[in-house]
């Protein structure tokens, strides 16, 4: 029994084993079949991931193309750039990389949606992360890509880049957390020293690199570009060269060169031969270069613009004499030595896009040996200036710079430059036929032993650069009682049609002038009158310019950035008005003279330049004709002027007291020269300094009647104590002819009896005028600074 039961159990075990083996064989076969099914019927993960990654790279490249093409020349590539106008990529924002970046991010978001939709059946989830990438190996200077895309242009090694990390899941296939660094970029290096320069052409060498391999051993990762060998077949290159006039001077205009030959030398190197030939220049470090711009595009439309130089450098030479000659009222020759501290000798210079430099509107002489290359074709916001303080390169540091728009017009037959506002910093610094950009900066000569200061105009390579914000002490205020420019030394209140009533002073009935006020007490010293003609009921200067001052004090687009160097007020009118109310608030006439005046309130200086143009439309006769006048409101105790040299000795100086003026009622003295001034016993002083053209006009129009005058009281009988430059005085009746054109400048100069930059005349009040005289020469044409080689 026991043996039978054992056999039965053995049979059961054997049966179970056999059944188990069979079932397992079925399972293995089913598993193999399933695997085969997956292999044959599943989507191809590798190909899908590769396709999406490649498409992300193309999307980045197309957005970098939009950004760089718009930055380089929006209108030329309008077929591309206009299509992204609904994203914000407009002509107005062509030099705004922030906008371009936002356009790219918007586009990439839609691209992400399209990928999700296209690969919906696979459950694709896609996103990207914006990371940093080190470009220092690629560009040879410390630069990074961040915030998706960056451009570093206008230097010999320049590049455009976009970089992000793509993240991808394909949920339907259980494929998660795919990451891929995606970089697109184009780099160009222009070897500065040309290979050859002949009489007909120039040959240069460039190196072009595209994208590149990432090096993760650094943090952030860095790249080295891959040599780009398809420039000739798929990309393109342009070279721009600066136009020269017949004398070989650069005009500031850029022209496209004719490329005669391009040869690929391997490893991304190309030799490029172009016409015309150009001079070889040498920079401060002694490196030679031909001034050109090189623009390169790859087949994806990404553009890079490089230049062969980093800066423009020159020196400003002071030409003012340090020993001044004058004659006392008796005609005795005197020598006045300037103090070693001449810290008020600050020149506010303008450099126009046609490479001319100006001081008070006067074009400065430039050393013919100085070859100034033009600025690259670059947005204004990227331009900066370095200026020395002590004449050595140790102090060659960044200083405030201001960008202004000027226009050239023919005003009654003569060419006239005048400002039309502060620039839009995002626009190009280019030479225009009608409008020109001017860069304004200051050059200081703090001591007499400094004759030359170095100036370097340079530019940031970062396309994201914003215009610099500099501290300034000048500010424009406009409300119901103010149309003022505040300055630490004076508050300038502009009276005109829209601001007729001067605070605490008189109603000007629309006459355009400016009133100088004490900045701390708001006390009105009285106005500076631009021009005056005739008398009205015994009152002086009947017909004065009538109109509205246009004040320019902030940048276009960047309204929060105030003018750091100077605020302009421009008057352009054909009307004359009267401050005496006989014409009401209307202009009196438009048949006398037209006026164009430019007043500058300059930060950090003591002077207010007034550049004036007058054109007489008809011949008019009357008593009294004034070139300009500055009222005194009774503050002055002393008055002085220097003679022009026609009736007295040149710079013979006459000093008067208020008592002398008062006893004369209107003090009149002949032969006015460059300096008219008044001051008080407390040492507060103001002068009007005329340029030589103004002095000559006084003589040519007024002849022997030309006078310095001072009026003792105002029409209300209160003390006035003005200083006036007359073609002829109020008691003389003469005519001015139709067609008479006057071009001159004056400078309102605020000074004191002592202090920094002045002689110590606190105990010698009658000679306080000397502290104006020691600076008068800097405003004269013949002593203007000159531009020389550094």
């Amino acid at each position: 029994m026991r043996g039978k039961a054992r056999r039965s159990a053995q049979m059961v075990v054997a049966a179970i084993l056999i059944i188990g083996l069979m079932i397992m064989s079925v399972l293995v076969t089913v598993y193999e079949t399933h695997s085969l099914f997956l292999r044959t019927r599943s989507p191809v993960v590798r190909e899908v991931v590769g396709a999406i990654t490649a498409d992300f790279k193309r999307a980045l490249a197309s957005m970098l193309a939009v950004a760089t093409r718009a930055y380089f020349n929006y209108s030329e590539f309008r077929d591309l750039t206009d299509r992204f106008s609904s994203y914000g990529m407009s002509m107005n924002n062509r030099h705004n990389f922030t906008v371009a970046r936002q356009v790219a991010k918007t586009y990439l978001e839609y691209w992400r949606q399209s990928i999700t939709k296209a690969y919906g059946e696979y459950g694709v989830q896609v996103s990207y992360e914006i990371l940093q990438l080190d470009l220092s190996k690629e560009l040879g200077r410390q630069r990074t890509v961040y915030n998706l895309m960056k451009g570093y242009w206008y230097l010999p090694t320049s590049g455009s880049y976009a970089y992000a990390k793509l993240r991808l899941n394909i949920t339907a296939m259980g494929f998660y957390n795919w990451e891929s660094d995606v970089l697109v970029g184009l780099t160009v290096t222009v070897y500065r020293n040309p290979i050859s320069v002949t009489g007909q052409n120039v040959t240069i060498m460039i190196n072009v690199r595209q994208d590149g391999s990432l090096d993760y051993s650094t943090n952030p990762p860095s790249i080295v570009g891959t040599p780009y060998g398809r420039l000739i077949t798929k990309g393109w290159i342009r070279i721009y060269y600066p136009q020269m006039d017949a004398s070989g001077r650069f005009t500031g205009k850029w022209l496209q060169a004719t490329i005669r030959d391009i040869t690929y030398a391997g490893m991304g190197n190309y030799s490029v031969t172009f016409e015309p030939s150009l001079p070889v220049l040498t920079d401060l470090q002694g490196n030679q270069y031909v001034p050109i711009m090189v623009v390169v595009s790859d087949e994806r439309g990404i553009i890079v613009e490089a230049s062969t130089y980093y800066y423009i450098s020159f020196a400003v030479q002071r030409n003012t004499p340090d020993a001044l000659i004058y004659y006392d009222s008796s005609g005795n020759k005197k020598t006045l030595t300037r103090p070693s501290d001449i810290s008020n000798e600050v020149y506010t210079l303008e450099m126009s896009s046609n490479l001319s430099l100006f001081w008070l509107g006067q074009k400065l002489s430039v050393d013919p040996a100085l070859k100034l290359p033009p600025f690259p074709y670059i947005p204004i916001k990227q331009i900066r200036v370095n200026v020395t303080l002590d004449g050595t390169t140790a102090t060659l540091k960044e200083r405030p710079i201001q960008y202004e728009n000027w226009t050239s017009v023919v005003w009654y037959g003569v060419p006239v430059d005048y400002p039309v506002g502060l620039s839009d910093p995002q626009m190009d610094f280019v030479k225009g036929d009608k409008y020109n950009t001017k860069l304004v900066f200051q050059v200081k000569f703090p001591t007499t032993n400094i004759r030359k200061q170095y100036v370097t105009l340079w530019w940031y390579d970062d396309l994201d650069t914003e215009p610099a914000v500099y501290q300034t002490q000048i500010q424009f205020i406009q409300d119901s009682t103010h149309k003022d420019v505040w300055h630490p030394l004076y508050d300038v209140e502009f009276v005109d049609m829209e601001h007729q009533q001067s605070r605490g002073y008189v109603n000007y009935y629309g006459v355009a002038a400016f009133v100088l006020r004490d900045p701390s007490t708001d006390y009105a010293f009285g106005p500076y009158n631009l021009h005056g003609f005739g008398i009205y009921g015994g009152k002086l200067q009947h017909y004065r310019p009538y109109g509205t001052w246009q004040v320019y004090y902030q940048y276009m687009r960047y309204s929060w950035i105030k003018a750091p160097i100077r605020i302009f007020a421009v008057l352009n009118t054909e009307y004359v008005g009267s401050v005496y109310g006989d014409c009401g608030t209307s202009p009196c006439s438009n048949s006398y003279y037209s006026t164009l005046a430019i007043v500058q309130i300059v930060n950090g200086t003591r002077y207010i330049p007034v550049i004036t143009y007058i054109y007489w439309k008809n011949t008019r006769s009357d008593y009294g004709y004034w070139l300009c006048t500055e009222m005194g409101s009774g503050y002055a105790n002393y008055f002085a002027y220097t003679a022009a040299g026609y009736q007295y000795k040149q710079n013979q100086t006459f000093v008067y007291t208020y008592n002398q003026v008062s006893s004369a009622v209107v003090l009149i003295s002949r032969d006015p020269g460059i300096l008219l001034t008044h001051w008080n016993n407390g040492g507060t002083a103001r002068a009007v300094i005329l340029n030589q053209a103004a002095v000559n006009l006084l003589q040519s129009i007024g002849g022997t009647y030309a006078s310095f005058s001072s009026t003792a009281t105002n029409p209300q009988g209160l003390p006035q104590g003005s200083i006036e430059a007359d073609f002829w005085p109020y008691n003389t009746y003469r005519s001015v002819s139709a067609g008479t054109l006057l071009r001159y400048w004056t400078v309102v100069f605020s000074y004191s009896a002592s202090g920094s930059g002045f002689l110590n005349l606190g105990s010698n009040i009658p000679n306080v005028w000397q502290n104006a005289y020691i600076y008068a020469s800097m405003f004269q044409e013949k002593w203007a600074p000159s531009i020389v080689r550094p």
Binding site: K4, S8, M11, V12, A15, I18, I19, M22, I23, S25, V26, T29, T33, L36, F37, R39, T40, R41, P43, V44, E47, G50, A51, I52, A54, D55, R58, A59, A61, S62, M63, A65, V66, R69, F77, D79, L80, R83, F84, S86, Y87, T106, Y107, Y110, W111, Q113, S114, I115, K117, A118, Y119, E299, R300, G301
Partner: protein, 168 residues
């Protein structure tokens, strides 16, 4: 005694039944068509072939050059495949005997409605796709952002649907 013998018979029956079921399953699977080696190789290769073709064309900016104008005004109302250049290039790049149809959609990003819309702009094919059915075929989806010239198409996003296979 009789009961014990009956149990052994049951076990033998179970073993035989299992043997028969498994044998039949394996026999059926052995004759199932997907297990033909030639078929396995070709179906997986078709997709890779399609992706390779599309990648090659993308890298060489074929789409920009063969689809001259991607504007909706050129949308082909007839439904005929008239991207002949694209079709020619694809045919020349594929082994003989393979049939394909490439449908191309422009992906419009509508800023106002914040939506993505597909606009069919045309197709390319190397066979009479209206009358001939593909017996063995594979669909492939591909997206393409135009990066090449001309500027009028640069930045345009395309959705490409390609079907590739054999006829009967």
């Amino acid at each position: 005694m009789f009961t014990k013998r009956k149990g052994q018979i049951r076990v033998i029956e179970a073993v035989l039944a299992t043997f028969m079921v498994v044998s039949i399953i394996l026999l059926v699977m052995a004759f199932t068509r997907p297990l033909k080696s030639v078929y396995v190789r070709e179906t997986s290769d078709l997709r890779r072939l399609a992706y390779d073709l599309l990648n090659n064309m993308a890298e060489n900016n074929v789409f920009e050059k063969t689809i001259a104008n991607l504007g909706s005004e050129n949308t082909q109302q007839t439904g005929e495949c008239t991207f002949y250049n694209l079709g020619f290039l694809a045919s020349a790049s594929l082994p003989p005997g393979l049939l394909f149809k490439i449908d191309i959609y422009r992906v419009d990003f509508d800023i106002a409605s914040k939506s993505v819309n597909l606009v069919w702009i045309g197709c390319a094919s190397n066979y009479d796709w209206k009358n001939i059915k593909l017996v063995e075929s594979e669909p492939v989806t591909y997206t393409y952002v135009c990066t090449g010239d001309p500027d009028s198409v640069r930045g345009t996003t395309l959705l490409i649907q390609m079907v590739i296979g054999f006829s009967g």
